[in-house]
Each structure stands twice: as C-alpha cells, then as structure tokens.
C-alpha cells in the first residue's frame, strides 16, 4: 500500500514559502510602482502580510492574515473584504482590490490633470484680461474722481 503525502496546511506561525510566493505572485504584478510588502504577527502568533502603499507614507493598503487555517483579507482601515480557507482565492480577491485602487488612482490623476488644463486654458486668460482692463480703467476712474 502506498501512502500519498499531502502537504499539511499551516494553521499558525509564520508564512510558509509557498504561501508567501502565492501572495507575492498575485500582488507583485499589480503593485510594481515602488510598493513594498512586509510580514508581521498578531499577539497570538498568526501570520500577517501587509501590502504597503507608495512612499513616503507606506501605509498598509491590504492585509492578509491567517487565523486557524482561514485567510482574512482586510483593507488598511480594517474593512473585511474577503475570507476563505483557500489562499489562492483570497490572493485573487486581493489582486482585484489592488487593481481597482490603482484604477481609481489613475482616474483621479486624469481628472486632476483635466481640471488643471481647463484652468490654465480658460480661466487664466480671463484673469489676465480682467487684470489688463483693471490696469487700463483705474487711471481713468481716478481722473474722474
């Protein structure tokens, strides 16, 4: 009789190499822009994986924790995003969460550029025009007064 050796799932303690590579593989592709990750532990010794935001703040954007063989995905404000016993599924949700954050960031930057461009093109000439009118009219008004 042959016995198939199943890999024992870790319930507590530090991340295994396999778990870390699963998380890094899922998040590495979407978090290239100078973002780093770190690991830590809860006081009960549960492993935590923190995906950090860009410098200089480097605040946690996503956190994956393993509690009793269950993986918990939270954002940096403690909102519970997803939980499951399968790390691959949790990593997929983490990837989607990071992608949507990046997408929002891109939209925000695009919007900001558009507003700045509009101000530069439309509002600034009006201000300059107003200033010219003001400079022209003030001496005349002063002469009348």
């Amino acid at each position: 009789m042959s016995v198939v050796a199943f890999e024992r799932k870790q319930d507590s303690g530090e991340w295994s190499e396999k778990e870390l590579s699963t998380l890094v593989a899922a998040l590495g592709a979407v978090s290239r822009a100078g973002r780093e990750w770190e690991t830590g532990m809860t006081e009960k010794g549960d492993a935590q994986f923190y995906l950090l935001g860009p410098l200089p703040d480097q605040a946690c954007e996503l956190c994956v924790s393993r509690i009793g063989g269950r993986y918990i995905l939270e954002d940096g404000s403690g909102r519970l995003l997803f939980e499951h016993r399968n790390l691959e599924r949790v990593a997929l949700h983490a990837k989607a969460a990071v992608s949507s954050t990046s997408w929002l960031m891109v939209r925000a930057i695009t919007l900001w550029c558009a507003i700045r461009n509009t101000i530069y093109e439309k509002v600034e000439p009006l201000l300059v025009e107003g200033e010219e009118l003001f400079v022209e009219f003030v001496p005349q008004l002063a002469a009348f007064a």
């Binding site: 549960d46 923190y50 480097q58 509690i67």
Partner: protein, 110 residues
C-alpha cells in the same frame, strides 16, 4: 504593576530623529497603543470584540504600525482602553500628523 490611568500615559514625547518618518511614527503609535491595551488588561481579541470587529487582525495591523486608528472608532478605542477620548485623539495626532499637532498644541505633548 498596573499604571494609574489618566496620569502619565500621555506624557511620552517624540524622539526628534523620528519626526519626519511617517512609518516610524506609526510604529511608535502602535507601541504606545499596545502598552495602553496591556494597562487595560485586554487582549487584541478582547479589544476587537468590544469595538465590534469580527477579527482581531486589524488591532494587530495598527499596533504593528502599518495602519492608523480610524477616526470613526477612535472614541470607542479610547473608551475601551479606559482613556479620555480627547487626550487619546490628541496624543495619536502627535504620531499621525506631527506638524498639525505642533501647530495646534505647540511643543506640549499632552
């Protein structure tokens, strides 16, 4: 020995070297929160339960210096640690927004 609450828990000052580093300041805030939780004789799980959080992982996230105490639960966090809410918020501001803290309260850390 358990520390007397409301007395010297807010007197800690920031090391000058750490003043610019947000990550390091969050870590200092986390260490301070961990001490205050120990004073209150609560585990991370106890505090999470009292704050209505399903898991204690966020408490760990904050105490390890990776996140801030969210403003919306700052009052409850202070209450559960047995601390005065305004002093708690002011003290955390010293770590999270040191320049704003300096503008509002000057050199005093309390």
């Amino acid at each position: 020995m358990k520390r007397e609450r409301h007395q010297d828990v807010f007197t800690e000052r920031l090391p000058a070297k750490a003043a610019q580093d947000a990550k390091q300041l969050r870590k200092l805030a986390g260490d301070w929160l961990k001490l205050r939780r120990a004073d209150a004789e609560l585990s991370q799980a106890d505090l999470a339960a009292r704050l209505g959080l399903k898991y204690y992982t966020f408490i760990s996230q904050v105490e390890n210096g990776f996140s801030r105490v969210p403003i919306e639960i700052m009052g409850a966090w202070a209450r559960e640690l047995g601390l005065e809410q305004a002093a708690f918020a002011r003290h955390l501001l010293m770590y999270y927004e040191p320049e704003l803290h300096r503008l509002l309260f000057g050199a005093e850390s309390k």
